[in-house]
Amino acid sequence: MAKKNNSLWTILQTLVETPGPSGSEHVIREKIKAEIQGHADEIYTDALGNLIARKGVLKEGGKRIMISAHIDEIGLMVTHVDDNGFARFMPIGGINPMTCLGGRVLFMNGTQGVIGMERLEKDEHPTLMKYFIDTGATSKEDSKIGVGDVCGFERPFLDLGKRLVAKSMDDRVAATIAMEALKEVKPGANELYFVFSVQEEVGLRGAITAAYGVDPELGLAVDVTRTGDTPLGVKMEVALGNGPAIKVRDSSFIADPRVVNWMVAEAKAQKLPYQMEVLEAGGTDGAAMQRTRAGVPAGCLSIPCRYIHSPSEMVDRDDVENSVKLLVGLLGKPVSLG
C-alpha cells in the first residue's frame, strides 16, 4: 500500500524529540516501526528489543549485510527519592556532569523535571553524586517517580539552516539515515538487514545479539563521530560539512580495510565529499558485528557531530543528505571486498 512519506527532516525531528534511553526503547521503536512499515519484506523485534527490518533476498553474487543504527540515547535513572521529593540518579551511558546543571528531563511516564545541584566548595568539580532531579514534588509521597524510573534530557529540535541541533542526534540522525536508505535502496542480489539496535550506549549490547541472530557476511554501523573543528577543541581531522566520515578506527575496533576501501570507492564514484575518520575515544556497533560468531568484515559510516553527549548535538544538513546517498549506493549493488 502506497503511503505518503514523511520527509527526512520531519522524521529526524520526531525521533530526536522522543525519549528513549538505553533499556527503555519501546516508544522510539514503535515510532520507527510505524514509519518503515511497508518498506521492508519483514519486520520483527528480537529478544533484547532490537527492531530488525529485512529488505531483499540473498541471490547469487549478493551478500547478507547488516546495517546497525542504535535507537537508544544516554539518560538518567532514579536511585533514590528523599522525603522532600528530590530524586538522586545514576547515569545511563556516558553523561558528562558539566552538561547536567539546569538541564530539563522527561521521564518515560511523562513526568518532567529540572536538574539541581548541592552547594559546591571553592574550585570543586561536581560529580553526578552532587546532582538531583526536582520534579516539583513536595514530598516523597506526591512524587510521580520512584527508584528505577528513567528519563532523557529534554530539548526541542533546533533548525539553524545548514546546521541542526538536538539532544539525541547520537544516534537518531543515523537511525533517520538508515530509515531513508531502507526506503530508497533497491537491494538487487543483497539481503539487507536494517537493525535499529538497543543498549548501544551501555556497551553495544543490542548489536551483539542482533549480529548473532542476523549472522551477516558484512556489517556496517551508522553512528555519529566527533569533530575537531571547534575553538581549541580536540585534535581531529573530521569537520562538520566536509561529508560523511568513513571510519578507519575508533577505540572499540579497527574497521576492515576492505570495507573502508569499498566505502571510499563508492563515495568517489558518486563524487560525494567524504572524510577519513580516526576516533581516539568512542565505540560503535561495528565492534560488536566484527566479533560475532566466526567474525564479520565490518565498518562504520559516521556522521560528523559537534558536542556529542551534550543536550545540544549539532550536525550538518549536507552531511546527512550525502550520508543517505552514500549508504544507498553502497547497499544497492553487488559488493566485492577484493
Binding site: T45, G148, G206
Partner: protein
C-alpha cells in the same frame, strides 16, 4: 480456601537438613578457578533429581530439570559456585607463603585474619608486624597485599603448594534471625538453586547453571548460557546492604539494599539493564503471594545476567539477590527471612510463568510481512 491451593504452597524453611547443606556449602574453599569442593556437593545433592547433568569445559555444573506441562519455557537460573579469596603464589619456606587476592577483596580487611588453604583446609593466618613495633606513620598506611604473608607454621606447609586457593577461615554461624559466613555470596544462590531443582515447578524446563569464575568477570556464565541456549535468564546472587545510619548523621541515599526488606530485584547494574517484562513479572509475583521485596538501587556491580542476556541472539534476563551486610569480607551477614523469601519468590514466579509475559506491550509485535 480451596484445598489444592493450600497444597501447592511452597513454604521453604531452614530446618536441620537445609542448614547442614548451607553450612557445608559456605565452609567450603571454592575460590574462582578451583570450585571443585562446591561442585562435588552440588553433584551429590542433585544426583537423583536431574534429567540431565553435565560439567562443561569451564567447570560449570549444568543441570536440566524438565517439567511436564505444555509449551514449557526454558528458564536458565544461574548461581555462582566461586567466591573471592586468595591464591598462594610463592613458597618462602618455614610455612610462610606469598599470596595474591582473587576477586574484589578490600586490602584493609586482610591483616590478622585466620585463613584456610586448599582442599585440606590447612589453617593459617595473614600476619603483620605487631602494633608494638609499628610507628605512627606506618599505622596510617594500608599494607599492600605483596607486603603480607600467609603463615601456616612449619609442618603445615607440606600440604600447601603454589597455586592453591585460600579463604577466610570463618565458619558459618546462626546469630538469632541472621546467618554469618564468609561465602554467602553466592552459596545462598547455590543453596537456593539446589532447592529449586529438587522442587521445580512442572510448567517450566529449569536449566540450572552452577557457574564458575563469576567473581573474575562472569566467565563461567558466558559458556553456560551458550550451552543452555535459554529463553529467559535469571541470576541469583547476593548484593551489599549498606543500610546502617551514617556516622556523621547525613542522610543515607545509597543504601543499595536493606536487610529484612526481602529479595532485592535488580533494575540496572554495571553489566545489565534488567528486562522490564521480567521485573514486572517478579514484582507482581511477590505482590500476589505477599512476599516482601525491594528494588536494589540501580548502581554498579554485576551478576551472571551480564553475560547471559548477551548470549547468542539475546536472552531477556533479570537478577535477584539476597541483601548482605559486609560482602566480600571475612564475615558477611544476612537475615534468614530474606533468604527464604528469595527462594519463595523465585519458586512462585516460576510457577506463574508462561510465555505470554514475553509479549511486548506495544501496538504491534512479532513477524510481519
Amino acid at each position: 480456601m480451596a484445598k489444592t491451593e493450600v497444597s501447592t504452597k511452597f513454604n521453604p524453611r531452614l530446618g536441620k537438613k537445609e542448614l547442614d547443606l548451607l553450612t557445608r556449602l559456605c565452609n567450603a574453599v571454592s575460590v574462582s578457578g578451583d570450585e571443585q569442593e562446591v561442585r562435588a556437593i552440588v553433584l551429590e545433592e542433585l544426583r537423583d533429581f536431574a534429567d540431565f547433568t553435565k560439567v562443561d569445559a569451564m567447570g560449570n555444573v549444568l543441570v536440566r530439570r524438565e517439567g511436564t506441562g505444555k509449551d514449557r519455557v526454558r528458564v536458565m537460573i544461574a548461581a555462582h559456585m566461586d567466591e573471592v579469596g586468595f591464591m598462594i603464589v610463592k613458597d618462602e619456606g618455614d610455612g610462610v607463603f606469598e599470596f595474591r587476592v582473587i576477586g574484589g577483596v578490600d586490602p584493609r580487611q586482610l591483616v590478622g585474619k585466620p585463613v584456610i588453604i586448599g582442599r585440606d583446609h590447612v589453617p593459617g593466618v595473614i600476619g603483620a608486624k605487631a602494633i608494638h613495633l609499628t610507628t605512627p606513620e606506618e599505622r596510617k598506611q594500608v599494607l599492600k597485599v605483596d607486603q603480607l604473608r600467609i603463615d601456616v607454621g612449619p609442618g603445615g606447609d607440606s600440604k600447601v603448594k603454589v597455586g592453591d586457593r585460600a579463604t577466610f577461615a570463618t565458619k558459618l554461624a546462626v546469630l538469632g534471625p541472621s546467618i554469618r559466613s564468609k561465602a554467602l555470596d553466592d552459596r545462598l544462590g547455590v543453596f537456593n538453586l539446589i532447592q529449586l531443582v529438587k522442587q521445580a515447578p512442572e510448567n517450566v524446563d529449569l536449566l540450572a547453571a552452577f557457574t564458575v569464575q563469576e567473581e573474575l568477570g562472569l566467565r563461567g556464565a558466558k559458556t553456560a548460557a551458550y550451552g543452555f541456549d535459554p529463553e529467559i535468564g535469571i541470576a541469583m546472587d547476593s548484593t551489599p546492604a549498606n543500610d546502617l545510619p551514617h556516622y556523621d548523621g547525613l542522610p543515607n541515599t545509597s543504601h543499595n539494599t536493606r536487610l529484612g526488606d526481602g529479595p532485592a530485584i535488580y533494575i540496572m547494574d554495571r553489566g545489565t539493564i534488567g528486562d522490564q517484562r521480567l521485573i514486572k513479572w517478579l514484582t507482581e509475583s511477590a505482590e500476589a503471594e505477599k512476599i516482601p521485596w525491594q528494588f536494589r538501587q540501580p548502581g554498579m556491580g554485576g551478576t551472571d545476567a551480564g553475560e547471559i542476556h548477551k548470549t547468542r541472539a539475546g536472552v531477556p534476563s533479570v537478577s535477584v539477590s539476597v541483601p548482605q551486610r559486609y560482602l566480600h569480607s571475612a564475615a558477611g551477614l544476612i537475615r534468614i527471612e530474606d533468604e527464604l523469601n528469595t527462594l519463595k519468590l523465585i519458586h512462585t514466579a516460576l510457577k506463574r510463568l508462561d510465555r505470554s509475559i514475553l509479549n511486548r506491550q506495544e501496538k504491534s509485535n512479532g513477524k510481519e510481512k
